[in-house]
C-alpha cells in the first residue's frame, strides 16, 4: 500500500496514500463530461471508440456519463441499470455546471469585452 514519503519525519505517517487515491484523480470532472456530452449530441453517433489494450475490454465498453470503462457489454448493461448511473444521468441532463464565467457574472461583472471584430469573415 503506497510508496514512501521521504520528507515526512513522523514514523507513523511515512507512507504515502496517494497511489491508493489515483483513481479519484483520474475521474473526469463534471464540466468536462458535460462538454463531451454536448459534443456528442452535435456529432450524432459519429463516435468510434479507439482500441486500447490497457483499458478493460479494450476500451470498447464505455459509459460516457460516468467516465468508466467496462470489461464487456453485459457488465455495461448492468451498470446502466445501477442507481449511481441513473443519478449521474439526472445530474448531467440538468443545467450546465458552474464555470468561471458564472462566477464573474455573479460577482457583478459584465460579459467579457473582446473588442471590435477586426477580421470580417
Amino acid at each position: 500500500m503506497g510508496g514512501k514519503c521521504p520528507h515526512r519525519k513522523v514514523k507513523k505517517r511515512r507512507l504515502s496514500h496517494k497511489t491508493a487515491r489515483r483513481g479519484k484523480f483520474l475521474v473526469k470532472a463534471d464540466d468536462a463530461v458535460y462538454d463531451e456530452l454536448l459534443k456528442l449530441a452535435e456529432d450524432a453517433d459519429a463516435r468510434q471508440l479507439p482500441v486500447d489494450e490497457d483499458l478493460p475490454g479494450m476500451g470498447q465498453f464505455y459509459c460516457l456519463h460516468c467516465d468508466r470503462y467496462f470489461a464487456s457489454e453485459s457488465v455495461k448493461e448492468e451498470h446502466y441499470r445501477s442507481k449511481r448511473h441513473k443519478k449521474r444521468i439526472k445530474q448531467m441532463s440538468g443545467p450546465a455546471p458552474h464555470t468561471q464565467l458564472d462566477a464573474d457574472l455573479a460577482s457583478g461583472m459584465g460579459m467579457p469585452d473582446n473588442g471590435l471584430k477586426l477580421m470580417s469573415m
Binding site: 462566477a103 464573474d104 455573479a106
Partner: protein
C-alpha cells in the same frame, strides 16, 4: 495587473492572495482562500452552497441585473493608455460604487418586506367570499361603472378601426 474572481465564491482575488489550480485540460481555477479551495476539492457545487455569490444571485437574494454592473468587465484586448480617460474612470469609480450600494440596499429592503403578495391574495379572497355583505347599491354601482367603461373603450376601438 488583473483582479481575478474566485471560482467558488466570486470574491476578488488580489495579487499574492489565494491559490490557483490548473487542470490537465488547461482550465484555470482561481480561489481566494483555502476555504474555497477545499470546497472545490470536495466537489461541492457553488450553486448549492449558501454563502457563495452564485447561490445568492440564483435565489434572488442579491441584485443581479443593474446598469452599474456593466462597467467592470474582463477586457480581452490591450487598452491604449489615455491620461484623461484614466482620470475620469478614477473619478467615476467611487460614484458608481456608491450608486450600486444604494440600489443594493433598496433591493434588500424590498426583498425583506413581509407577505406583500400573501396579503393581496387574502384581500382578494375575502372580497370574493363576502361580497354579499356589502350593501347592494355599492355593488351594483361598481358593476355598472365597469360596464360603462367597457362600452366606451369598445366604441373607441370601433372608431379607431373606422378611421384606419
Amino acid at each position: 495587473m488583473r483582479l481575478e474572481k474566485c471560482w467558488f465564491c466570486s470574491s476578488t482575488v488580489y495579487p499574492g492572495h489565494g491559490i490557483q489550480f490548473v487542470r490537465n485540460d488547461a482550465k484555470v481555477f482561481r480561489f481566494c482562500r483555502s476555504k474555497c479551495h477545499k470546497n472545490f476539492k470536495m466537489k461541492r457545487n457553488p450553486r448549492k452552497v449558501k454563502w457563495t455569490k452564485a447561490y445568492r444571485c440564483l435565489h434572488g437574494k442579491d441584485m443581479t441585473q443593474d446598469s452599474t454592473f456593466e462597467f467592470e468587465r474582463k477586457r480581452n484586448r490591450p487598452e491604449r493608455y489615455d491620461r484623461n480617460v484614466t482620470e475620469q474612470t478614477l473619478k467615476a469609480i467611487p460614484l458608481i460604487t456608491k450608486i450600486r450600494h444604494e440600489r443594493q440596499k433598496k433591493h434588500i429592503t424590498n426583498r425583506q418586506k413581509q407577505g406583500k403578495t400573501k396579503e393581496r391574495e387574502r384581500d382578494a379572497k375575502e372580497l370574493e367570499q363576502d361580497i354579499q355583505m356589502l350593501p347592494k347599491k355599492d355593488v351594483m354601482l361598481s358593476t355598472q361603472k365597469t360596464k360603462v367603461v367597457v362600452k366606451v373603450s369598445q366604441q373607441q376601438t370601433e372608431e379607431n378601426l373606422m378611421e384606419e
